[in-house]
């Protein structure tokens, strides 16, 4: 593997790992606080899957990097500017509808990406994607079903999820952002060009929003920065909490 490809692959695995980890963290904050017991279980289950995916991606990132950093070292010892997750997934929890919208926007992207990654020329990437895509298919079904229920539920629920959609929409552009690294990976057949996912993502969004009787916000100015480590003010607090123990007891194993 060329040095460029290796660097690009490292960054790519971080992007996927961090995005899964941070979204899993946000979902896990719901644990014990969901609107009904079945959802408490379902959200925890999705969080569990996402942290599971993060482990695989980060372990692989560490391997590609070749500097001896394992999944925990990468998860627990990087500060905000080294995190590569999408801004979308670090947005703090508001109400349940907001969580569902955030999840649906993400899942609709993840399912398309993972589906294509199963055909990666990189066997490890393909293997992880093949495992994860089954779970992600369930996630997107779950979040889409809830979006439909809430959008086409009561006037109150409709207004709430439409507001969440308007709020979160400016964070969706980042999922399709390309750069030199993504070009390198696309050329090598390792990962699809992010832009390639856009049409399928659009189609799913259109279909589900229609069923949910929700309006698609206009594609205006999009927030960016996550992929180069420029996040929102929220990520620092999330990491401070998440990383406390390994930072406070650096010599311990758990």
């Amino acid at each position: 593997m060329s040095n460029d490809t290796q660097q690009a692959l490292f960054g790519y695995a971080l992007r996927l790992g961090d995005t899964s980890l941070v979204l899993g963290h946000r979902l896990s904050e719901w644990c014990g606080h969901a609107p009904e017991l079945e959802e408490d279980i379902a959200l925890t289950n999705v969080a569990l899957d996402l942290v599971g995916h993060a482990r695989l991606w980060l372990a692989y990132a560490g391997e590609v990097e070749g500097k001896g950093r394992d999944e925990d070292r990468l998860a627990y010892r990087r500060d905000v500017f080294d995190y590569r997750n999408h801004l979308l997934v670090e947005q703090p929890n508001r109400d349940f509808g907001h969580t569902i919208v955030r999840q649906f926007l993400h899942d609709s992207w993840a399912v398309e990406l993972y589906d294509r990654l199963t055909a990666s020329t990189d066997a490890t990437l393909a293997g992880i994607a093949a495992k994860a895509v089954k779970e992600v298919r369930y996630h997107v079904r779950h979040s889409a079903d809830w979006l439909i229920r809430l959008g086409d539920g009561t006037a109150v629920s409709h207004a709430k999820v439409q507001d969440a959609l308007d709020r979160l929409w400016p964070y969706t552009g980042e999922m399709f952002e390309s750069d030199a690294a993504s070009a390198t990976l696309a050329a090598a057949g390792i990962a699809p060009d992010p832009l390639e996912l856009r049409a399928a993502w659009n189609a799913r969004i259109a279909e589900i929003l229609a069923e949910a009787t929700l309006s698609r916000p206009a594609d205006g100015w999009m927030q960016k920065g996550g992929l180069r480590g420029e996040h929102s003010e929220h990520l620092g607090f999330l990491l401070a909490e998440m990383q406390f123990l390994p930072r406070a007891y650096p010599d311990a194993t758990w």
Partner: protein
Amino acid sequence: VTQDDIRFQERIDAEDKIEPRDWMPDGYRRTLVRQIAQHAHSEIVGMLPEGNWITRAPSLRRKVALLAKVQDEGGHGLYLYSAAETLGVSRDELVEQLLAGKAKYSSIFNYPTLTWADIGAIGWLVDGAAIMNQVPLCRCSYGPYARAMVRVCREESFHQRQGYELMLALANGTAEQKRMAQDSLNRWWWPSLMMFGPSDDQSAHSAQNMAWKIKRFSNDDLRQRFVDATVPQAEFLGLTIPDPDLRLNAETGHYDFGAIDWTEFNEILKGNGPCNRERLEARRKAWDEGAWVREAATAHAAKRAQREMKKVG
């Protein structure tokens, strides 16, 4: 005592399982509803102290394990509410009783989880004590409850081993980790012993519940079993149980232990524990803030049903 009562007791004595449609005395039904609901509520409230550490689990492996554990507890809550529903009471009614402060849940969950070691201690001690209580319930005379408990116990015993393994990692870790483990044992030991309830001579209903085979062992018996099982585990961890009177009684083969101070336990029962208020408020908040979601789901289901009807019609 009616003919029905006599026949019912004969079935119990013959280790027959009572099923939802079978005749049963009102007292039997009431006792079971109360006990199963209390058990279900405990699972749900119990998600909170452990959930408190999910975002701070010190490794991704531990985080995944804790998420899975808390999810299992939600699952136990589900089976148990279902078992209670077979006795003719709805889950919503039971939840309302909990939120109104009219139903009990295990007092142990009114203690805070202050360090990561508490996640280990809850698995090892609290789940350990719960299993002692619950294994006999797998043979409870009421079928749906007994069957739910089989599944619950299998998962709980996995959690208990996991908790012990977590403690072992701390006990074998740095001096600070070992201190964390010892501190946690100090705080959870006595509350765990209190989980078995008051001494037999203080305990109401016991005789009737024994006769109905809802209960099969006395509180004191179960507590003794727990102590006997746990002391060697603590020794293996190299931790000290915070009881100066604890010693192996060579004659009985059991561990003698110090007198339990019930003052704090009674205060917690009265609502004065460190976390009573927060636990109930957390549950109420989740319920109240989720109202619009549940209403939306109902409204949507109705719309959908109506559309289906039109299509069919």
